[in-house]
Symmetry: C2
Subunit: 202 residues, 2 copies
């Protein structure tokens, strides 16, 4: 004696989503019961579409429905700068910010010897090809400040040295609006060592 | 420049679920990308199934895929007791508890004059029919302890008076394991007025 089988199936599917447990899955499934037909069709179809239509951009490895993603195709963007990120969703974050007008390169992972992930397992080779072929003058590394992120940044900066391309890393420091009292020691140390001079013309 | 359209559609659909905002919808959608084909098909199908297969039980108004729900069909259950609940999910909660062996009646709402919901808008008429036809000896009201819940309980107990059926209400009081210091005043008042004698044979 429990939920009808179709409702039970849906609850089980919702439970596969990150951070969704039994109670939340039940709540989601019961709310689906109240959706109108148009929304049901759209929901059901878009789950399949996401799986079968979305591919990886052949240039930057970003998510796309065509062979080359919108950003790589956009001729108004500065192709001399490439921002290297771990995952597609990181590039979306940069796009939301709006201040970046260069291109992206999605690694789809970070070097992690402990997990058996080496440089050949992530999308670094294609990055090197792009440097050679696209006339790139700067590579911005925007990877997360973890051991894996730092290792990957170091590796990329090494393989790109001698290629005549400037390799930079986004700044780590105190976030805007944060209370300096509650900042962890490592961030404070980074913020101190990465300090910059305040010049008169700034 | 943003997510590919199919991903954007899925994000919009997830945002229709209760308590899901932009960030969570993005996280859910990106995780769907990683689902295997079997799960995708099952997820997509069960959303439609829930909408098109699930009906209301013609007796108790519970969710079911057939005309009469499993509980109403079950001959091992005590049909002389009906537990009246607001929503289908409340009956599931009772089923999980496992101690109740009677039947249910789902009102699908509560009387709420402020929202324009009268006794005729919720499933009370069918309850009265059941009392007359099923040989019911006890109706247990398990509605939430709100103004609407209390109003509905009062209304049902009034319309059932004189029908020779015992009408009871589940107990309100201090929850098990709760710290009595932090209990709200109304609950404490209820717990005091509903106190019961501890007899020697208990």
């Amino acid at each position: 004696m429990n939920y009808p089988s179709s409702l039970k199936n849906l609850i089980d599917c919702f439970k596969k989503l990150p951070g969704v447990g039994e109670k939340t899955a039940e709540r989601f499934s019961l709310s689906v019961l109240g959706f109108d037909e148009k929304l049901i069709e759209s929901f059901s179809d878009s789950i399949k579409d996401v799986k079968y239509k979305i591919k990886r951009c052949s240039i930057c490895n970003n998510l796309t429905e065509s062979d080359v993603c919108d950003i790589c195709r956009d001729e108004n963007r500065d192709s001399s700068v490439i921002c290297v990120v771990e995952e597609a969703k990181n590039s979306i974050l940069f796009e939301k910010m709006g201040a970046y007008k260069g291109k992206y390169h999605i690694l789809n992972g970070l070097i992690s010897p402990l997990d058996g992930v080496g440089p050949e397992d992530i999308n670094i080779d294609k990055l090197i090809d792009r440097i050679d072929s696209e006339g790139v003058s700067e590579v911005i590394l925007a990877l997360k400040p973890s051991i894996e992120g730092e290792t990957t940044s170091l590796y990329i900066s090494k393989v790109l040295s001698g290629k005549g391309v400037k390799v930079t890393k986004i700044a780590h420091g105190i976030p805007m609006g944060a209370d300096i009292e509650y900042i962890d020691m490592l961030t404070l140390e980074m913020a101190l060592s990465d300090r910059k001079e305040i010049s008169d013309n700034n």
